[in-house]
Structure formats: structure tokens, C-alpha cells
Amino acid sequence: MVPLSYYLILSGILFASGVTGFLIKRNIITIFMSIELMLNGVNLSFVAFAAHWQQLSGQVFVFFVMVVAAAEAAVGLAIIIALFRTRETLNIDQVNLLKL
């Protein structure tokens, strides 16, 4: 049986790559994917703990997260399409009008 720590390290790696991508990437699609990566990193730790402690609630949480992530993907992609239609770019450094 794979020890819990392996799952947690993998989960950490996934989350960290998500954060890194979120911070350094300019393409909004990539950023969006990085967010999904972070969510899945967290999901992994949830199920790992659920299996380890023989508790169902961790897995239930994951379902919630997946549902919310699906909704977020739908809304987010719609926003991105709308954004591309108006600005003809996906580079978020050029989408900076909302400021003082």
C-alpha cells in the first residue's frame, strides 16, 4: 500500500505547479487550467485522507469541489469567450482597464 505521505507530496507538487502557473503565465486559458490544477491537488489530498482515516466525508467534499469546479469552468470559459470577442486577445497583461 502506498503511504499517505506520497499522496500528500504529489498533492503538494500539483498545487505548487498550479500556483506557479497562475502567477507566471499570461495566457488566460493557461491560468484557468492552473486553477483547475490547484483544485485537483487539493482534491487528491482530500481523497487520500478519506482513504487513510476510513472517513467518507473527504470524498463527499471532493464531489462538491468537482461540482463547483464544473460550474466555474462553464462560467469562466463563457467570460473568456466574451473577453476575446471584445478585446481580441487572451493576454491578461493587456486586460487591465479595471483600475483607478
Binding site: V19, L23, I24, I31, V95, N96, K99, L100
Partner: protein, 685 residues
């Protein structure tokens, strides 16, 4: 079966009149305004007459009608209730009767003025509050009326509010009255503390077990003195009389109604109403008597040197009110109320007559510019003559009986009161006949014949900024609508005293007997020698009790002396202002400092300004305004606003619109939170 007289209707009628004219009057024609004002004040008078006709069948007296509960707080409660006894009945008739007459007079006097509807609305409002004051069955409701008449007085003094002096006089009256009201209010609190109620019936019941505070100062004395402070404010007594002469800035009918006949007598009414308390506080009574006597004397002396016809009457009012307080102070409450009534007649008449004179000479108020008016305005002249003789105490006019009664009763308390009273009676007679001779005899010294240039004189024009446009020049008698009230009041000033003819002159003093039940002494029989009229003697036992002891002969001697004082004043005025008209100026020159003191009213206003007003203004502007208001409050507010502004100016650059910088901040924040959690976890380990 208890009778229900619907007493609440009487004040309400006046209020409805005020509301209709006040809210809608702007669109009414003058005739409609007059119709409304007269209908409602007349209805109040009719109602008062009806109540008077039913009075003899009332029992028990006092007759209390509770309209609705008002304040309930624990055991303390006050109702909207009205209280009718002999005293409030007399006040009711004076207020509605004289008030109605003055309403009629005002129609003529104010016809040419702007703000006609406003004037009548205020006048009705005044009637409402004054009726509330005299009919109230508790000190609290009385206080409402008390404040209300102050408000009406303020509004009416400042009726010509575009004139600075009128606006200032209104404010002065209001502020000086606040000082007195403060005393009144504290007295009410003391009553709640000690008697647990403000209801007349309950307070008097609760006060009854207390013996008179013959030595030392107890709470009853404190209540008495505080009530007197309130009365001194409202009734213009020393030290708070200064507002009344200035109040003459108001229209003359207002001076007659509020500042002579009714409102200023509220203090006398209140002191008389509280006689149960005052009887138990001889110290407070002495204060009342001394204040009254001093006021009577000093105000009369100031009256000698005034040249403005209304100012003379104003100081005369202050002086006569002093007589009333003197009477109350020696325990002769019914004599005080008697003088209150006759004074309402003759002083109301004097003011209305003065108004008619001013009207006749085109707005001139300076007596030096009058003279010789006798044949030109005969109605005014004859009615004024009646009033002058009445106030001078010449028998058989009204003022004689009431003043004589006060002097006689004050002699029984102390010869000092009597002596000052008689001297004052002499001075009163002198300055009133001075006015009379200056205005009506000799040659006309003004310039109204040549047109209405008198308006531009030094005296403030009482007709405000509106031109005095009667469409004719010259001196003219007032219209009928002004003369009728004058004549009615003249008749009352003539016969009004006959209800109180003293026993020594073959009468039986019905007035005193009528008021007897109200003022029957309630002090427990500690002072059994009630025939001994000392200051602490229980009042109202003396009327019947003292006369046999001193005898009618003595009383008639004193009556003769006071009449003599009046005649002497008449003679002196005749000598100085009719026969040897050059003498007054010579006397004024030779006794310059005295004359100057009198003409400047003893510099009391200047003294008050220096002692109270100026320091207050300086402290307010330096400490409170510049120091506290600007230095602390404003500075704190401005400072915090400035700080917030600078801070936000710096922080706002963080909102750059760059999404990745936001993401970075989120990451830093998250790292911080996680680091903190780890730290907490590590410490907990």
C-alpha cells in the same frame, strides 16, 4: 351626577382659530381673517361666560375635568385635566373678555399692516396657551401654557421681524424668560420629589400636613423661591424685568393684551395658585413681598423720566405687577388678584388708548412731540382719562379699590411695605398725569399736521415699514372698531372696582369673599393668634379677623393718605407739565445725575450686558467656539478625514488593473496565513 362643562373646548376654540388663520390665512381676504379670528376668540369668550353662568351650580369646587391620561410613569401620573375654581374662573373671564376686546381693536389698528393673518393667528395662539395656563389642573400642564405664552410673546414682539430692534427684543424676552422658567422647572422637580405629583389637588393635599417653615430654609421655602423666580421672569419683576420695556417693540395691541393685561400676570396667578405652598414658607413669602415692593418702587421711578409713551406704560406695568406681588407676599392673595383684574382693565385701556394716540399722530411715540390732542381725538382722550384716574387710585374708579386694599393689607404686615407702596402710588399718579398732560393738553408739538413725517422721526415707527396710508393727513380719531373696545374697557375701569368695596367704605368686598374658598388658609393651627398680622400670619383670615381690631377709622385714614398721594401726584404733574412747563427741564438740569440715572433706567441693561452678556459672549467665542469647537471637535474630525485621505492616496496604487499582481498579493496573503497557522501549531506543540 357630575356636571361636564367641556372646559377643554375653551382653549381648543382659540387653537382652531390660530390653526385656520395660520395655515390658510395667506389666501384669505382680510375680512375672512378677521371673521375667523373674532369668531373663535368670541366663541371662547361666550363659552367662558357660559361656564361662569353655570358656576354657582357646580359642586364640588374645585371642579376638575379630566380629558385624557397623559403621562404615566410608575406612581407618577399627569392627565390632561382642567381645573375650575373661583380663581381660574376670574382669570378665564379676564383672558377671554379682555382678549376678545383687544382682538376687535386689533382689526382697526392692524388693518394697514402686512402679515395681517399672521398677527391674528399668533394672537389666537396666545389665547390658546394662556387659557391652557389658567385652566390647567396640574403644574405640568400649566408649564406647557407658560412656555406657550412665552412663545406667542416672542412671535408677537418680533412681529415686525425685519426691524432689528424688534427681533432683538423678542429674543431678549425669550432668553430672560428662560432664566425664570429654569427656576419654575426646578420647583416642579422638587414637587415631584417631595409630593410625588404635580396635580394641584394632590400637591396641596400632600403639602397640608407640613407645618410652616418659620425658621430655617426647608424644601417648601426652596420651592417657593424657585416658583417666585419663574414668576419674576414671566411677570417682569426684579431682577428679570428688563425684557418687558423692550417688548414694546411689538404692535400696541400686543403690548395691551400680552404685556399688560394677561400674560405678565401669569406669575401672580401662579403664586396665588400655589398659596398652599407659600403659606408654609414665610421666608419665600417675604422674598415675594420684598421683590414686589422694590420692583413697584424702582420701575415707577424709571417711569418718570421716559419720553416714549409706550415705555412709560411698560414701566408702569412692571410697577403695578410689583404691587400684585407685594400683595401676594403679605398673604393678601385675593387683593393681588383683585388688582390683577382692575389692572387688566385700566392698563389694557391705557395701552389701547396709547395705540389710538400713536395711530392719530401718524406713528409718533415720543410724548414731547404730542400735546393738545384733547379736542382732536375726544374719544381716546376721555377713555384715557378714565384709565389715568383709575391707575392713579382716584376714587371711585377701579384702581382705587384694588390699590387701597393692597396698601391696607401690606400695612398690616409691615409699615415699610406700606410706606414704599404709598410713595409708589404718588409716583405712579405723577408719571401717569405727566403722560396725560403731555399728550392731551397744551400746544401740539409734533408735525403730523403737515403730513406724515412723524414716521421718519427718531422713534421707531410702530407701523413697521408699511407706509401709514390712511389716505389723509393730519390728526384723526381712530375708527369705530377701535373706539368701541376703548369705551367698554373704560366702563370696566370705572366700575370694575365696585365688586370689592371694603368694609370700611360701607361695602362688603364681594370679590374677597368670592375668592375666599380658594385662599382659605390651610396652615395647621400653629399660629393661633390669627388676629396678629405678622409676616408669618396665616393669610386670608385677616380680612374678617383684623378689621375689628384696628377698626374702620384707621383704615379710612390710610385710604385718605393713599388718595392724597394720588392727588398730590396729579397736582405736581399739573404744576410741572401744565402750568410751569419750563420747570421740568430746569429740574432735570439741576439734578442731572439723578435724572440721567432715571432716563437710563439705572443703567441696568448696561450692567447686565457688562456682567452677564459680555463675559458669556467672550467665553463662548474664545473658549467654546475657537477652543473647543474648532480646536478639539473640528480638529479631530478634520484630522481623521485628512489621515484617511492620505492613506488611501497611497494605497490606491495597489489597484493597478494587472491581474497577475493581484494574484501575487493573494499568494502572499495565503502564504502569510499558512505561515501563521504553522507558527501557532508549532507553539502549541
Amino acid at each position: 351626577m357630575k356636571q361636564d362643562l367641556h372646559l377643554w373646548l375653551i382653549p381648543l376654540l382659540a387653537l382652531v382659530g390660530a390653526a385656520i388663520n395660520g395655515l390658510l390665512g395667506k389666501r384669505f381676504s382680510r375680512q375672512t381673517v378677521v371673521a375667523v379670528a373674532l369668531a373663535f376668540s368670541g366663541a371662547a369668550f361666550a363659552m367662558a361666560l357660559f361656564v361662569a353662568s353655570q358656576f354657582s351650580s357646580l359642586s364640588p369646587i374645585p371642579h376638575v375635568e379630566t380629558l385624557t391620561p397623559w403621562l404615566r410613569s410608575g406612581s407618577f401620573q399627569v392627565d390632561f385635566a382642567f381645573y375650575l375654581d373661583q380663581l381660574s374662573l376670574i382669570m378665564l373671564l379676564i383672558v377671554t373678555g379682555v382678549g376678545f376686546l383687544i382682538h376687535i381693536y386689533s382689526v382697526g389698528y392692524m388693518w394697514e399692516e402686512g402679515g395681517f393673518y399672521r398677527f391674528f393667528s399668533y394672537l389666537n395662539l396666545f389665547m390658546f396657551f394662556m387659557l391652557t395656563l389658567v385652566l390647567a389642573s396640574s403644574y405640568l400642564l400649566m408649564f406647557i401654557g407658560w412656555e406657550g405664552v412665552g412663545l406667542a410673546s416672542y412671535l408677537l414682539i418680533g412681529f415686525w421681524f425685519t426691524k432689528d430692534s424688534a427681533a432683538a427684543a423678542g429674543k431678549k424676552a425669550f432668553i430672560v424668560n428662560r432664566i425664570g422658567d429654569f427656576g419654575f422647572l426646578i420647583a416642579l422637580f422638587l414637587m415631584i420629589q417631595h409630593f410625588g405629583s404635580l396635580d394641584f389637588t394632590k400637591v396641596f393635599e400632600a403639602a397640608k400636613p407640613y407645618a410652616a417653615e418659620t425658621s430655617g430654609v426647608g424644601f417648601l421655602t426652596a420651592i417657593g423661591i424657585l416658583l417666585m423666580l419663574g414668576a419674576a421672569g414671566k411677570s417682569a419683576q426684579i431682577p428679570l424685568y428688563v425684557w418687558l420695556p423692550d417688548a414694546m417693540e411689538g404692535p400696541t395691541p400686543v403690548s395691551a393684551l400680552i404685556h399688560a393685561a394677561t400674560m405678565v400676570t401669569a406669575g401672580v396667578y401662579m403664586v396665588s395658585r400655589s398659596h398652599v405652598i407659600f403659606e408654609r414658607a414665610p421666608g419665600a413669602l417675604t422674598v415675594v413681598a420684598i421683590i414686589g415692593t422694590l420692583t413697584a418702587f424702582f420701575a415707577a421711578t424709571i417711569g418718570i423720566a421716559q419720553t416714549d409713551i409706550k415705555k412709560v406704560l411698560a414701566y408702569s406695568t412692571v410697577s403695578q405687577l410689583g404691587y400684585m406681588f407685594m400683595a401676594c407676599g403679605v398673604g393678601a392673595f385675593s387683593a393681588g388678584i383683585f388688582h390683577l383684574m382692575t389692572h387688566a382693565f385700566f392698563k389694557g385701556l391705557l395701552f389701547l388708548g396709547a395705540g389710538s394716540v400713536i395711530h392719530a399722530v401718524g406713528g409718533e411715540q415720543d410724548m414731547r412731540k404730542m400735546g393738545g390732542l384733547r379736542s382732536k381725538i375726544p374719544w381716546t382722550f376721555w377713555t384715557m382719562t378714565v384709565a389715568t384716574f383709575a391707575i392713579a387710585g382716584i376714587p371711585p374708579l377701579a384702581g382705587f379699590f384694588s390699590k387701597d386694599e393692597i396698601l391696607w393689607r401690606s400695612y398690616q404686615a409691615s409699615w415699610a411695605y406700606w410706606l414704599v407702596g404709598v410713595v409708589t402710588a404718588f409716583i405712579t399718579s405723577f408719571y401717569m398725569f405727566r403722560l396725560w398732560f403731555m399728550a392731551f393738553t397744551g400746544e401740539y408739538r409734533g408735525d403730523a399736521e403737515a403730513g406724515h413725517q412723524g414716521m421718519a422721526g427718531e422713534a421707531p415707527a410702530p407701523h413697521g415699514s408699511v407706509p401709514h396710508g390712511h389716505g389723509h393727513g393730519g390728526i384723526h380719531e381712530s375708527p369705530m372698531v377701535m373706539i368701541v373696545p376703548l369705551v367698554i374697557l373704560a366702563v370696566l375701569s370705572f366700575v370694575g372696582g365696585w365688586v370689592g368695596v371694603p368694609g370700611s367704605l360701607g361695602g362688603s368686598n364681594h370679590f374677597d369673599k368670592f375668592l375666599g374658598p380658594v385662599f382659605r388658609s390651610t396652615v395647621p393651627a400653629v399660629n393661633t393668634e390669627h388676629a396678629e398680622p405678622g409676616e408669618a400670619a396665616p393669610p386670608e383670615q385677616t380680612t374678617e379677623g383684623a378689621e375689628p381690631k384696628t377698626g374702620h377709622a384707621t383704615e379710612i385714614t390710610f385710604t385718605a393718605i393713599s388718595v392724597g398721594a394720588g392727588v398730590l401726584g396729579l397736582f405736581l404733574a399739573w404744576l410741572l407739565y401744565k402750568q410751569r412747563t419750563e420747570l421740568p427741564d430746569k429740574i432735570a438740569d439741576s439734578a442731572h445725575s439723578l435724572y440721567s440715572a432715571l432716563a437710563h433706567k439705572y443703567w441696568i441693561d448696561e450692567m447686565y450686558a457688562a456682567i452677564f452678556v459680555k463675559p458669556l459672549v467672550v467665553v463662548s467665542s474664545v473658549v467654546f467656539w475657537r477652543g473647543v469647537d474648532r480646536g478639539i471637535i473640528d480638529a479631530a474630525l478634520d484630522g481623521s478625514a485628512e489621515t484617511a485621505k492620505e492613506l488611501s492616496d497611497n494605497v490606491r496604487h495597489m489597484q493597478s488593473g494587472n491581474l497577475r499582481s493581484y494574484a501575487g498579493w493573494i499568494a502572499i496573503g495565503a502564504t502569510g496565513v499558512v505561515a501563521y497557522m504553522v507558527w501557532v501549531w508549532a507553539v502549541a506543540r
